[in-house]
Amino acid sequence: MAIAAKPLLTSRRSVGFRLWEGAQLVVLYGSIVAIILPIIAITWLVISKGGPSINWEFLSKAPERTYSGGEAVYGGGILPAITGTLYLMAGTILIALPVGVFGAVYITEYGQRSRFTRVLRLAIVNLAGVPSVVYGLFGFGFFVFVLGGGLDRMFFAKDLPSPTYGTGGLLWAAATLALLILPVVITASEEALLSVPASFREASLALGCTRWQTVRNVVLPSALPGIVTGLILGISRAAGETAPILLTGAAFGLGEAASVSTSPLGMMLHEMRQLPEKLHSQFMALPYHLYITATQAADIPERFPWGTALVLLMLVLGLNAVASIIRSRARAGRRW
């Protein structure tokens, strides 16, 4: 490359000029160090402080309070928060996958340059800019009170005034998070669909396939890795969000003292099934659990928030790593 061939520092100028440029380089390298070091520090802190608290009991048991001499001792683990987050991720995917992928299919395959496509794009851009707590506000006001309250009045009137769907729950939190990650999913899917060459579509159409057959059999399979990458990135974002679930159904201290089974495995299975048991149940989730154990509860030992932070960080960074592996594999194996 012609540009890189020229050395960063030239020897043909005056000493003062060379010092000046050298100082600029020091600042450039320094800024890199100033950014990289805290990133390493945060990751290392969470790993080193959270690492010791991770053991089988921490991952496989519900939190429990035992009483010794009149004083409550907080112990057990964070299993319900882990399963709650997994349930929440599953629910979010179930909503965001069809809406997001079909939205992208509309943009690239159906709407193309129509005016409505422009409106849709504008909507997505704006959706991406909305702060997460505003999603929470919307989920709380609309999903929980308007939709949930409406469902209750229609189908669960006999249980009123105690709400069924008219209170925070898994379904509403998942719907809120699905809205939140929709821009990520649509944008990534759109990019993946656009990278499928037009000749693929033309070949399929020339063979007499209809538009939907072309989309289903040719375009979507070719774009699959890109779509999956976008989905995973979206879901990892959803797994780490706290503000939107704060108001739509996350809870603390569920499943405490659920000692029904005697064998450890039976106990674990029982607890996994228990929480959250219905679509409208409240649930525990890792980010919310971290927030509460860190800020609200004085009697909870430090290893709980640090351990929760580590599990959450590993989950999110693991998902991101999977996404980038899929992306680079797909790029390497691409045949067009």
């Binding site: 450039l28 890199i32 079909f102 800019g129 702060p131 506000l137 709380f140 006001g141 538009r211 780490g240």
Partner: protein, 323 residues
């Protein structure tokens, strides 16, 4: 913003012929069903965005009708449980402004320098390493950063700067700056990368050094992209909730005092509360339909409006830059 569709008009023509033939042969039922599903879904997405917007307005209107916009924006006192209730959000608006402005002042130089380094100086392999490190940062959930800030950074600041508490606006700004970095770096890097190579070659051919080329021709050419990066970073900082909720101390002060030598008297080193933190902290306790409930929606509407303006500026800068 996003690229135009790549499907050429030839394909569109083929599709039209295909559709008319398919209709004749009666093969098109699944096709037509899917088409309606897909179109309906697109409508649903647009509808939900309109719905969010409309719902925010609808739920905040009762508040504005009763208390007025002026008292919300200029009132210094926020007493939702007082007798009578008072809703002045000036302290929170100022808190959001203060933390955001300081965060961007901290993040912008580092972010742009990092982007310059990645795009113009780093060899490909180092660039790859830097990119994935920045991606790690982008992936860390805000509640984890808030937690580390609360337990590690805040006590450190309190200790080193001899403050009464480490939970200050400045701690929040520092962490927000950190969180805005990935946005600033990746968008500026894209903008720098998009500068044509001719610019660099012409400058070098005139005898400029590589660093002169970077500062005098590449960075100015990427100016609009860098402005967009800054605005998107601002948007990120304004909307961030958990971190500021956990580290800024949440005292409802109107920050006014920035020029004292005594740091613990300086507003930057005192507690503040932001718009986002107020919504997150108080929403759990309100009764639906109460004035407090509508007041929090009004804060949400203010927040939405701020981020909407910021993102529109970013979008405008990006799209104008492309033409």
């Amino acid at each position: 913003m996003a690229a135009e569709s790549t499907i050429e008009s030839g394909t569109e023509g083929a599709l039209r012929i295909q559709a008319s033939q398919a209709r004749k042969h009666g093969r098109a039922i699944s096709d037509r069903v899917m088409e309606w599903l897909i179109r309906g879904n697109a409508g649903l997405v647009v509808l939900s965005v309109v719905l969010i917007f409309a719902f925010l307005i609808k739920e905040s209107l009762p508040f504005f009708q009763k208390y007025g916009v002026g008292s919300l924006l200029s009132g210094r006192v926020w007493e939702p449980v007082g007798e009578p209730e008072v809703y002045g959000a000036l302290s929170m608006i100022a808190g959001t402004l203060l933390t955001t402005v300081v965060a961007i002042l901290l993040a912008l130089p580092f972010g742009v320098l990092c982007a310059v380094f990645m795009s113009e100086i780093a060899p490909p392999r180092l660039k790859g390493v830097l990119k994935s490190t920045v991606e790690i940062l982008a992936g860390i959930p805000s509640v984890v950063i808030g937690f580390v800030g609360m337990t590690i950074v805040a006590p450190l600041m309190q200790d080193r700067l001899h403050l009464l508490t480490g939970l200050t606006a400045f701690t929040g700004s520092a962490l927000l700056a950190f969180m805005a970095l990935p946005t600033i770096i990746s968008i500026s890097e894209d903008a720098l990368h998009a500068v044509p190579r001719d610019f660099r070659q012409a400058s070098l051919a005139l005898g400029a050094t590589r660093l002169q080329t970077i500062w005098k021709s590449v960075v100015p050419a990427a100016g609009r992209g860098i402005v967009a990066a800054m605005m998107l970073g601002v948007g990120r900082a304004v909307g961030e909730t958990m971190t500021v909720l956990m580290v800024t101390g949440n005292a409802r002060n109107v920050p006014t005092n920035f020029f004292t030598k005594d740091l613990s008297e300086n507003s930057l080193f005192q507690s503040v509360r932001t718009l986002t933190a107020t919504i997150a902290a108080e929403m759990g306790e309100v009764a639906r339909g109460s004035d407090h409930y509508h007041a929090l929606f009004a804060l949400g509407a203010v927040l939405f409006l701020i981020t909407f303006v910021i993102n529109s500026i970013a979008d405008y800068a990006l799209n104008r830059g492309r033409r």
